[in-house]
Subunit: 250 residues, 2 copies
DNA sequence: TTTAGTGATTGAACGCTGTTTAGTTCGCTG
DNA sequence: CAGCGAACTAAACAGCGTTCAATCACTAAA
């Protein structure tokens, strides 16, 4: 009980981080010590971290440091890390805009929603694992589900087909956005090639006699730039629905 | 440096576990203290744990305890936990049998392989996350990829369409098997209903005016028993290939 | 048989994670 | 101004993957 509030001799790394962070701030005249900690500020900070450093870098300590607070303070606003994950996914989903269902353009509308969701997942690398870890409690995820269902049903797809297709699409989108951005982060030292897919790299140096088709497909799979593969799969999922409502080529 | 090898006064929990486990064993006359630790025994033990307790329960300490060894001993046979994960997935994939491609039955064959892989994933709950965490190094996963590609190509599907469809199928299978078994483990106290899906439970108690289609779809989605939803999605993915057998851009 | 050597194994530690808690501080209300 | 309740701090806890010097069991050479 001797050294409680001295300015020097700081031991705790949390204290240190807070002090360093407070260097560029105005003293604020003692009242309202800082911006009060809120759930929204916590979720925003967490999303900022995931966007910049990936989902693995998201720890409670890291979030607390981002907010110049201690980790314990977070638990006054958020029950778990699981709840924080859930809130992040919710905020992410809330940024997806849903169109008014148009029966004539239902497939384009559905694809657009899926692309939006994919881009949100890709923006925060690895965050889909937050959805996998625990069943989402957020209403925002249900909002997208409802919107996508509405588009399909408006397009004439039966309720059961729509529900199953939407479910499959969500699963595919999530898995795609977790696995897809697996690239070598380091730019090539020679400059030009750079950012090749890690899996493709390993597939290249593979005995072609053992896996002939796989090796042959490596080049052709990568032929599609950007998200052609993604669009193709959505075409299969949603295109298969039209084949059974109004005839094969309606 | 006083108390090194006394039989009583064991402090370390590892020692304790090893001692308890050794109670039912024959002394073995000092040589070959136990079955020697091998990679295969480690992988088998790990799979046993995942099968019984799920992927979250798989820790190096848990594996070591299962083998009556210390955790450090594992690292003489396995570099990382990541490598152990990889070996587990490899062993899992090696149990999938691939048929000789038959052009007339290619779709049934493809569906069968996918079902096998799904069942393997479902047998070890959550193990697909091991695939997600790091790109798989195992050749057994490539074997399935090659086999499935061979089936599609033999069926007349173009190389690019086949590669994309197989990729989509693998992503879907993995996501399906991670998300699907999310059920309330506890059987209903009244006996009969039991083992309802956790997500469905929460969807039931949802304001129908906010999410009318979602709520309406809950019943009809669950109408399919077993893995009807899974088969339906595979039908969409592979069925869409026959519709444009010449390739996606033909 | 003795000896040197080699690789597996041990026990204990390190740094990291999420989470809890006693005690302090702060801002608002009576 | 007093007091109360909520927010916050600092420190711990158990568990995770991983590392490492010391020790052990066994093999191969002398």
């Amino acid at each position: 009980m001797t050294e409680k509030k001295q300015s020097r001799g700081i031991v705790s790394s949390d204290q240190w981080a807070a002090q360093v962070a407070a260097l560029g701030e105005t003293p604020r005249a003692t009242r309202a010590r800082r911006e009060p900690l809120t759930v929204e500020r916590i979720v925003d900070a967490a999303l900022r971290i995931v966007e910049a450093e990936g989902f693995d870098a998201l720890t409670m300590r890291r979030v607390a440091a981002e907010l110049h607070a201690t980790q314990g303070a977070l638990y006054s606003h958020v029950r778990d890390k699981a709840e924080l994950d859930d809130l992040m996914v919710g905020k992410l989903c809330s940024q997806v805009t849903l169109p008014e269902p148009d029966a004539d353009r239902w497939m384009d509308q559905a694809r657009d929603v899926c692309r939006q969701l994919r881009d949100q997942y890709l923006r925060y690398p690895g965050i889909w694992r937050a959805t996998v870890a625990r069943a989402p409690h957020s209403l925002d995820t249900l909002r997208i589900n409802e919107g996508l269902l509405a588009i399909l049903v408006a397009g004439g797809v039966s309720l059961r087909s729509a529900a199953w297709a939407v479910d499959a699409a969500f699963l595919y989108i999530g898995a795609y956005s977790v696995v897809a951005p697996r690239r070598t982060t380091e730019r090539g030292p020679d400059g030009s090639p750079a950012a090749r897919d890690e899996v493709v790299e390993r597939l290249r140096m593979l005995p072609p006699d053992l896996f002939p088709i796989t090796v042959a497909s490596v080049e052709v799979v990568n032929s599609g730039e950007g998200h052609d593969r993604f669009d193709y799969t959505l075409g299969l999922l949603f295109g298969g629905l039209t084949a059974r409502i109004g005839g094969p080529t309606s």
